[in-house]
Each structure stands twice: as structure tokens, then as C-alpha cells.
Amino acid sequence: MKPVYINSVASISAQSTFDNSVFLEDIAEHTDNVIRAMNPNYKEFIPPAAARRMAKGIKMGVATSKIALKEANLENVDAIITGTGLGCIADSEKFVSKIINDNEEYLTPTSFIQSTHNTVAGQIALGIGCKGYNFTYVHSSISFESALLDAKLQLENDEAQNILVGGVDELADHHIKIHKLVNHIKKDVVNSRDLLESGTKGAVFGEGASFFVLSNEKSETTYAQVLDVTAYNSLPAEELQNGLKSFLHENSLEIEDIDIVVLGNNGDIDYDTYYNLLSQGSLKNTAQVYYKHLCGEFNTASSFGIWMATKMIRTQRIPEAVRLNGIQPSKIGTVLLYNQYRGENHSLVLLRGC
């Protein structure tokens, strides 16, 4: 089996992350219960005639894919694989609202055409003329990990040499309203610095896109190697520590071999307990970082976590704003990521610097 490398990265988030020459040097603080992604100048990436029909999720996905391709010195790839929890929810809402408001009359095609879950992967393929494998995984908070696993398997088996992999989700008005009603979004606004001390139910919702070029050939732009990816739809809390140990053993690793663990804490008092089991248990002596105070919670927020992990490996630096404890590793070589949402759809990812 061939090794799998991350040869380029790109992210659009609620932080200024679209410029790859900097890495979380200026942190944007947010005091809200919903935080939006910062918009780059999309005209630099998308022709205006095409952009006018694109909702924010598509623009974020297309722009990050272009940044990632450019950094990998590629104009095309063998496959495009995306993960999204909600797809193009804004256009879906728009189309369904029109059906209701106009009494099932006067339906126009634009929002319908752009409302599918595969629109982002499709638009990227159209833009670069990629006629290869094009697939979108829609698996709640393991959508991105599913895409990553698919790419990893194809590259290991040499079925493809370069694959564009990304996670994207956008915020939309009705989506926010519904999640506020069921208290999955925090009732009160929270300052991002205080997210984990909020002591309340629900999360601060966000949006964003992170794309990566994965390859089975190492290049001068390589950030890290993807050692392993696994996901569980359900994993009882009492089995979490053993699940982690088994995952590490399968990769011939012990807890002590992990330089940093990247945790998906979102400040929900009901579900951060999963993370606490690890951070206060088997990983208590490991350097710990978190990121959802920077980007918010969304189904593919873990792709931001991978972006952050690769950047830490490249720069050998842990930004102060993401530290969960004061442990400073001697090097940033092997990085473990753990994520779950509301106690379901858990994922473990292992990266190693190279």
C-alpha cells in the first residue's frame, strides 16, 4: 500500500484563514451564538457570471479548492471527494420557501439547480474540467472523515494519484431558527474565549470550508502523512478510552507517541464530557488543543481541525489561542484528532509530519 500525504491545504472560516502565508496570528473574537465565515474577495477565484448564482457554501468550496490546487502546483486532479452535513442548505431553503410562499407556482430553476448536496463538488469539477470520480459524503459530523477515508483508500491502492478532498457547510436562516428552537444552538451569546466555560447546553454554530490535495507521492509542498482515519456512528462513553487504545495499537502507537491531541470541544455541557474523558484520562499528559471557538460548530468543522493540525505540523507552533493545557511537546510530529457531535458520529484521525 502506498502512503498518503497532504500536499496542500486551504480554509475559509470565521478566522482570517484563506491566506496560507499566515497561521492564526490575529484571532478574531466573536461574541454570538452563530458565527459566520469571513469572505475573501471571491472575484479572485470565481468569474462574476458564475458567482452570481452561487450561495456562500459553493463560493467557499470553490475558492478553497482553487487555493489548495494552486499550492499543490496542480491544475487538475484524478478525483474530487467532498463531505457536507447539509449540502447547499441556503438554496434548498430558498426553493422550498418559494414553493410555500407562491402556492406552488412561479418556480424558477436557479436555486433548485444549486441546492443539491453534490453542487460544490460538481462546480469544482466544472471549473477545472475534471471528469474523474466525483463523490459527496453526507454523514452528519463524519461527512468529512468519510471523504478522507475514501480518498485514503483510493490513494493507498494507487487507483488515483492526486485527490481533492474537502469539507464544507454553510449557515442558513431557517436552519439557525430550527436549531435555536431545539436548543442545539446556545440560548445566550458567548465570547469565543469563554466557550468552554459557558456551562450551558448547545453549541455556537458556524460555517466554513477546508480543502486539501491528497497524494500518494510526497512533494516539496507536503504538510503531513495521513496515517489512519476511523469513524463510529455510535460509541458509548465507557468504550471511548478502549476505542482510542485499539486505534493507536492498530497503528503500532502508544499514548506517549502522540505529540498533540486536537479535540472538538464545542462548549456544550452535555457532550463535552466525551472530550473530558480523554483530556482528563488517558491523554492528560499530552499537549491538548481545541478549535471550535474559532470556527463554530458545524458538521464538517473537523476539516478545520485537520487544517489546524497540518499547519501546526508545518510551522511547529501551537497558537496560544488554541491551547487547552500548558504542555509543550518537544516536537509536533504525530497528531491525533478526536471529534464527535452530540455524542454521535465519532472520528479519530492520525497525522504525522514528514
Partner: protein, 85 residues
Amino acid sequence: MEALKEELKSKIIEQLNLEDVSVDEIADDDPLFGDGLGLDSIDALELIVMLDKDYGIKLADPKEGKKIFESVGTMADYIAQHKTK
């Protein structure tokens, strides 16, 4: 008629999401498709629905569309003669 033309320009910009175009930049006789505003077939469908929804005009013959949607001026003439609401 002038008011109708201004109204149409605003609606075209809003419904077709022409972010970089203002009402002042669209002349009454600018071609809507091709070299002018550069609209395409999906936009044509949006305009047909707009005529129906906002002015009560149903286009039965697709061939008519080519003449009606030539410019804002031709659209305004047709709407003024055929509108039912």
C-alpha cells in the same frame, strides 16, 4: 413608461443577482443576452416567471420571447400592452 423601465431594471438586477450592475448602467436598448448584459437561458426562464408572477403575462409561444427579451425597452413595451395585473 419610464417608471416601468426603471422598475424592470431593478427587478432584473435583484432577481438575477447582478451584483456588479446598477440601474444607471443599463440603457433602455442594451441587449439583455449576448454582448449586452450577457444573460443566458436560465436567466430567460427567470424572466418568463417574472412576467407571469408580477404582470400576469403567460408566454404561450417561446418564439415570442426572443423579441420581447431583446432589451429593457422591448420588455417594457410588451408589458405595457399585455399586463393583466
